[in-house]
Amino acid sequence: MGTKIASAASTTYGKHPNSSSRELLSEAAVKAFDETDISPGDLDAVYIGNFMGGLIEDQGHIGALMADHVGAREAASVRIESACVSGGATFCQAVQAVESGDADVVLAGGVEMMSTTDIEHVTDALANAADDVYENEQGLTFPGIYALMARRYMHEFDVMREDLAAVSVKNHRHAVDNPLAQFRKELSVREVVESKPVATPITLYDACPVSDGASVAIVVSDTFAADHGLETSAEVLGTGQSSDALALQDRAAISRTPAAERAAERAYENASVTADDIDVAEVHDCFTIAEILALEALSFYERGEGTRGAVEGETAADGHIPVNTSGGLIGKGHPVGATGIGQIVELTKQLEGRHPNQVSEAEVALAHNVGGSGASTTVTILGGE
């Protein structure tokens, strides 16, 4: 059974100090319903990706809350949490519900409110993605974990600090043209390198910002789409999902991301495509090093070659493998639970030919979403209609 995306939409990502999760998620849902003939009453299920609602807003049970707020009070609902891949995992669950035949129409949403608390408390909430005892309680922060990976990678492959910064420069440049993005300002390599230290070698502009936002994708079976004469936006060609040890210290490798490699292998096989077939990708660049590791896990580059993407311009919107044309997590923002669905929104626009950084002849698109420092990963491959 085939699965289609009927429509997909995001709020702007950034600071929404006077808003709340329920308002942001329903705003994204209204935008998505506006672009399709599906109405809230058609929803069989509402799945919501969210990471820290219980920590920041003191709100659990977000699946039922959001089903109510998108006008589908009677639909099956659940909140799906897998740290920063809560959105990607939600999308995979929605696709599986449709492919199993159990549901015809599923709203896959993601939402996060983060900016309403101070940086130490956000850092603390994000740290919930790591091993509390062996990592957080030792003073290791979430940026600190990626910093350990970055330093090791630089050591093994003789990579310069400036090579990491090039990823941030590229993604900030992409974000300038994206009206949904949080940062719409170009940065230089020097500004990235000289920004405030966070966890050496990572500085402030190597990292994604603290963001609020929501995204929604409405997923339908191809039979439902055909029976109702729906014009759909994209087709789901394949998904892949894998896990790894939660703590970096327990992984087989720290300068690569084995769970992402496995998720990619499954998604490519599932979709019957290879890395060479991908025309445009959104990857999980929570830190600059993360994009480099993603490019290698997805087989766009050989091990140790991933820095070439941004440094040589090969992953720029006009390069041969455009990556994060939205601005990525670094430029567009990273409302954690929304991010994986936000990637789908951006790629759907590319496949429809209406993206602000449109890639010419985009027919096959890939989303790569990571939880924590790599303990869970989803890869989704979409095709144009």
């Binding site: 940086i119 130490e120 408390h121 850092t123 603390d124 740290a127 005892v133 062996y134 990592e135 957080n136 309680e137 030792q138 003073g139 290791l140 922060t141 940026p143 600190g144 910093a147 350990l148 990976m149 330093r151 090791r152 050591h155 405030k196 230290p197 966070v198 966890a199 050496t200 070698p201 990572i202 040890a245 703590a247 970096l248 210290q249 327990d250 720290i254």
Partner: protein, 126 residues
């Protein structure tokens, strides 16, 4: 902190730290585990763990979580011990400028805020 971690760090403090070895496949891992993460076997036995290891990576933390408020900057080291298991701990008696990947370190532990125990690493003398 959970009781198992107190037991783990108490053992480090008294110099008889342990790790878990899988009887079936030989994979080494850290407590507490009932199943081998490599093969799923439940035949895990405690074996002595060396206090010596090598730095895999390190980072100096400037933005931290409330528990470590006011303690920045400090350096976190990821080190692989001689038996092949790795641990995360804070660098003591040295700065990040003094160390490099591959340097030898010695495992230790110390109390933090008089309640929980921290894993620590110091540069090895020889």
């Amino acid at each position: 902190m959970p009781a198992w971690f107190d037991a783990f760090t108490d053992a480090i403090a008294s110099g008889d730290q342990q790790y878990l070895v899988c009887e079936t496949c030989g994979h080494g891992t850290l407590p507490p585990r009932q199943l081998c993460p490599a093969c799923g076997s439940t035949e895990l036995t405690q074996e002595p763990l060396s206090e010596r290891g090598e730095i895999l990576s390190f980072t100096e933390i400037s933005v931290t979580i409330p528990k470590f408020h006011g303690e920045t900057p400090y350096t976190v080291v990821l080190a692989e011990l001689d038996e092949g298991v790795s641990l995360t701990g804070q660098l003591r008696d040295a700065t990040p400028d003094d160390i490099a990947i591959g340097d030898k370190v010695v495992l230790g532990t110390e109390p933090h805020d008089n309640e929980t125990a921290l894993i620590t690493f110091q540069q090895a003398e020889d």
